[in-house]
């Protein structure tokens, strides 16, 4: 097979299954500890959240629905008054530092002016209100986080260019010059001002911080931060770098509206991705990265047992969370053959470094380039899978059980969104997930090849 062909991009009908982007409240309310997420939508949105998020709903979560009723749809009721009443209740019950309004399909269709109402109520209630339109008309699953972070980017304090900053700092330096160590550290911070964006569990974030610190690149802040009032300073002279492939809107906002400089790198998923990510960041700051190769080799060696299971196996990504390209690239490097990378939306500019890294990896591993199918059609994909018979399908939960019944091993894609998959040390977690279906002992259903109840067709 030819190995040097360029990546093939296709676009299908968009009849695919994925989570609604409002699901981002599930991880964002946990990440931003002093927040409250209010989803302005219908019973359908609420039912989705309560079913998709399962038991978290019983744990008094910091999110809720502002459920629209007939009067709201027909504009019998006043949106602003209704939202004020509800936000007041939230303020009294929970006293959050920020309320996020998540706009939904319905607020889009009835053209509810959330962006217009928010500043008015913000003044009246004394709580910042951030509006994000994470609706199913425009976005898929993880892109919900993208809309929230893009909205948050506007709320980050302004960064003062370091010439000014230094003079201010110099003043404070003279004032209290007792702690000289503290000052020198601050200097490094201002010179290579790097803000990372993407919501990660705090332990993963500190792992990535540490990886960069080893190369003497301190991270000056994260979007989002653990608390709302700790948002990073943004502005001209700040470098920003994404940790997730679905944050293209946030990246655009940071560049265009906040004048930050984007570092385009592959994403820190897998030891190969993490190394490429660090190298790229180092190169921006003219730092020669050290010890990365040994570190990468060490990780590969440590995970030899899992990689052995994957070698020579094939995988098919149905596509629903935009992490597909990065994970596929990592799995190809582990020796797998990727037939197809389905993906809801492909931003070739934001993902360009990741895409060329993918192609490079294919050449290096002598594997055929996978086809990248944007807005896939699940029905056609299942047909293709019947022909290709992949060893593993990475798919949403709507298809997992039916595919298992037809003897195709599956891994639910949603788990990749919630597991810790970033950085070298978490590479094992990704492999743990991918190999789990392959590690299950085969043979206990020896006599029945397929356990599907349907006899005809598929």
């Amino acid at each position: 097979m030819k190995t040097s062909e360029t990546l093939a991009f296709e676009c299908e009908t968009g009849n695919y299954h994925t989570f609604c982007p409002i699901s981002c409240v599930a991880w964002l309310y946990q990440k931003i500890e002093d927040s409250f997420f209010l989803v302005v939508g219908t019973k359908t949105c609420g039912y989705f959240l309560q079913n998709a998020l399962g038991v978290t709903i019983f744990a008094e979560p910091r999110y809720a629905m502002a459920e629209l009723e007939e009067g709201d749809i027909s504009a019998k009721l006043n949106d602003q008054r209704e939202l004020e009443r509800i936000c007041l209740q939230i303020k009294n019950d929970r006293n959050p530092c920020v309320i996020f309004w998540i706009g939904t399909c319905t607020t889009e269709i009835i053209k509810m002016d959330l962006e217009g109402i928010a500043p008015i109520l913000e003044k009246r209630l004394g709580i910042p209100i951030v509006v994000a339109r994470a609706n199913g008309l425009d976005y898929a699953f993880t892109q919900g986080e993208d809309t929230v972070l893009a909205a948050m980017a506007h709320r980050c304090p302004e960064y003062k260019h370091y010439a000014e900053q230094e003079s201010i700092e110099h003043a404070t330096l003279v004032k209290n010059s007792s702690n000289s160590k503290d000052i020198s550290q601050k200097k490094v911070l201002t010179k290579s001002n790097l803000v990372l964006f993407g919501s990660l569990p705090s332990s993963v974030a500190s792992q990535l911080n540490l990886e960069l610190k080893r190369q003497s690149v301190p991270v000056s802040g994260w979007l989002p931060s653990q608390r709302y009032n700790e948002l990073p300073h943004l502005g001209k002279g700040v470098y920003v770098c994404g940790v997730n492939p679905f944050l293209s809107r946030t990246a655009t906002t940071l560049m265009r509206r906040r004048k930050c400089q984007l570092v385009g790198a592959p994403f820190p998923i897998g030891p190969d991705g993490t190394r490429a990510w660090i190298e790229k960041i180092c190169s921006i700051f003219n730092i020669k990265a050290e010890g990365l190769e040994e570190r990468e080799n060490q990780i590969w060696k440590k995970n030899k047992d899992y990689i052995q299971i994957l070698g020579g196996k094939s995988v098919f990504f149905m596509g629903d969370n935009l992490l597909e390209v990065s994970i596929a690239r990592f799995l190809i490097r582990c020796g797998m053959t990727v037939y197809e990378i389905g993906i809801p939306y492909m931003d070739k500019r934001y993902q360009s470094a990741e895409l060329s890294f993918l192609q490079h990896t294919c050449e290096k591993m002598k594997k055929p380039s996978p086809r990248i199918v944007e807005k896939p059609d699940n029905y056609s994909q299942v047909q293709r899978m019947h022909e290709l018979k992949p060893h593993l399908a990475i798919t949403g939960m709507a298809h997992a059980n039916p595919l298992e019944a037809r003897n195709i091993d599956t891994k639910w894609s949603v788990e990749f969104t919630f597991a810790q998959i970033h950085g070298s040390s978490n590479a094992r977690d990704v492999l743990e997930l991918v190999t789990r279906p392959l590690r299950r002992k085969d043979g206990f259903t020896s006599n029945s090849r397929s356990l599907s109840k349907q006899t005809l067709g598929n």
Binding site: G14, T44, Y47, E69, I109, F141, N401
Partner: protein, 514 residues
């Protein structure tokens, strides 16, 4: 707008999809934005369904918003028609798409010109009805559609079957223990010599619906789905129906008695003799079901007078209340349902069986009610199970909303004689576990929790407890401690006592019925 954290019944389209995907070879196409097809996940995961859920979305995106669906819906319908050759395609609007006010009926009409399958538009108002009402409505709509169609074609068959037979109406996917109930109901009817004509919607072909009127009568095991269709069949085809569910021994006996009456309407003509099921009922009650003996046994004596709170859908909450009170001698302090649309009937059913009735869709109201009453056990939905966890009260799950635990691979019906055994287990285990849990307290064992004060949102009365009274209170077993604390405080307040001493405690105890 309503601030909502949780809901008991889902949105309307879920009800429609439950009916459509339960029929065999029916495909539902949702007119919905991306991500609204979560029904597929629920069906595939909670029911561990092996086959692809026959539901796809005709995705409403920005383009549709800008210029309308145009040919998109029609094309999606014809495409499904070619790919999977369903007997029928049900176009299902969602709450989002219904605001668009596109003429979906027009799409349906156009699509039916090209497709071989029958195309139907599910006709429900998404802002007025919930999942349960929509499922009832959709089932009614489909039954009407195919019976009227058969009548027009002259292919309807109205002749009664030779032997007594029944339709079971309302067994569907995502229903609470529906599969097991269906099997039990089939067995029960079979033992009475009644054959099953059809079971709808679960597993039935639409082309067979024309034979529905051949049954002697209809059985509607759950009030939530099937009543409308059964009422239609009664009105148009004179088919009687039974809508009192055979849950519990008394209800099952009633159920069999109703069947006896209905069978005997025709029995002398068809069978040449009348049927009598008295012996069957007696035999089942005495020997097959253990529930009657269980209520008589010493175990159940221990339950007498214990307090319980019940909450769930109308069918299950009413039936379980009746079982607890009439068959087990348990006191039901409060019975409630979230089926607001069936409130009148529910009130009637539990009249005289419980101290108070609560009808609400707000789970915090139920939570507060339970916290106030502090029953020894709760019988409710998954939500009540979690409320129970928070305040240390055991809970048996008796009703939807469903959860993966409500699809056990083992045989767990709630209906019929085996159902009564299962319910006995459930009730007994709930109370029993509660007792076991508190035994260490009774013997003054490892009590590290301090005083039990975990009201959900009951108003606290600010009254001082003397240290002696406080330590006395700690000696009282945990499961009644909260109640005694409250009673004492109430007593103190009534008598204008500002500090509670041991004396006050016992005075309060004498005054109340404890």
């Amino acid at each position: 707008m309503k601030l909502a954290y949780w809901m008991y019944a889902g949105p309307a389209h879920i009800g429609t999809l439950r009916v459509a995907s339960s029929f065999r070879n029916v495909h539902a196409i949702m007119h919905a934005p991306l991500g609204d097809d979560h029904f597929n996940v629920m069906r595939s995961m909670s029911e561990r369904e092996r086959d692809f859920t026959p539901v796809t979305a005709s995705v409403v995106d920005r383009h549709v918003l800008a210029r309308g669906s145009r040919d998109k819906v029609v094309n999606n319908i014809s495409r499904k028609d070619e790919e999977q050759r369903p007997d029928s395609i049900v176009l299902t609007p969602t709450c989002t798409s219904s605001i668009l006010q596109e003429d979906l009926q027009n799409f349906v009409d156009r699509a039916s010109l090209y497709s071989e399958s029958d195309v139907i538009l599910a006709d429900v108002n998404h802002y007025r009805v919930n999942e349960l009402q929509a499922s009832d409505k959709t089932l009614d709509q489909i039954v009407r559609y195919f019976l009227n169609k058969a009548r027009e074609e002259g292919s309807s068959n109205r002749s009664l079957t030779d032997m007594p037979s029944a339709n079971i109406i309302g067994i569907s996917t995502s229903g609470f223990h529906n599969q097991h109930d269906c099997r039990e109901l089939k067995r029960l009817l079979g033992e009475l010599g009644i054959s099953i004509n059809q079971i709808i919607p679960e597993g039935e072909f639409l082309r067979n619906l024309k034979d529905l009127p051949r049954a002697w009568f209809n059985v509607v095991p759950y009030r939530e789905m099937g009543l409308m269709a059964a009422t239609f069949l009664e009105k148009e085809y004179g088919m009687p129906f039974i809508s009192k569910p055979p849950i519990g021994l008394l209800n099952t006996a009633n159920f069999v008695a109703r069947i006896e009456k209905l069978v005997n309407l025709w029995a002398s003509v068809s069978l040449g003799k009348e049927v009598n099921y008295d012996l069957y009922v007696e035999n089942q009650t005495k020997f097959v079901s253990q529930a009657a003996w269980f209520s008589k046994s010493i175990d159940c004596q221990n339950l007498a007078g214990k307090e319980a709170a019940v909450s769930g859908d109308a069918t299950h909450a009413a039936s379980i209340t009746k079982i607890l009170v009439k068959e087990m001698g348990i006191r039901v302090s409060c019975a409630g349902t979230y089926c607001k649309h069936d409130a009148e009937r529910f009130n009637e059913q539990v009249q005289g069986l419980c101290d108070e009735v609560i009808i609400t869709e707000d789970h915090t109201e139920i939570g507060n009610m339970i916290a106030r009453i502090e029953p020894s056990a709760i019988f409710g939905t998954q939500m009540e199970r979690h409320i129970g966890k928070r305040i240390d009260i055991p809970c048996g799950v008796i009703s939807s909303p469903v959860h993966i635990q409500n699809f056990p691979p083992g045989y767990r019906p709630f209906l019929g004689y085996e159902g009564s055994n299962q319910i006995s287990d459930l009730v007994y285990n709930s109370f029993n576990l509660g007792m076991e849990d508190h035994l260490p307290d009774v013997f003054g064992g490892h009590d590290t929790k301090g005083v039990n004060t975990k009201p959900l949102s009951v108003d606290r009365i600010n009254i001082n407890w003397s240290p002696k009274a406080e330590s006395e209170l700690r000696k009282i077993p945990g499961f009644v401690r909260g109640k005694i604390r409250r009673n004492t405080e109430f007593f103190a307040k009534q008598n204008n006592i500002s500090e509670i001493t041991v004396d006050v405690m016992y005075a309060a105890k004498e005054k109340s019925s404890f």
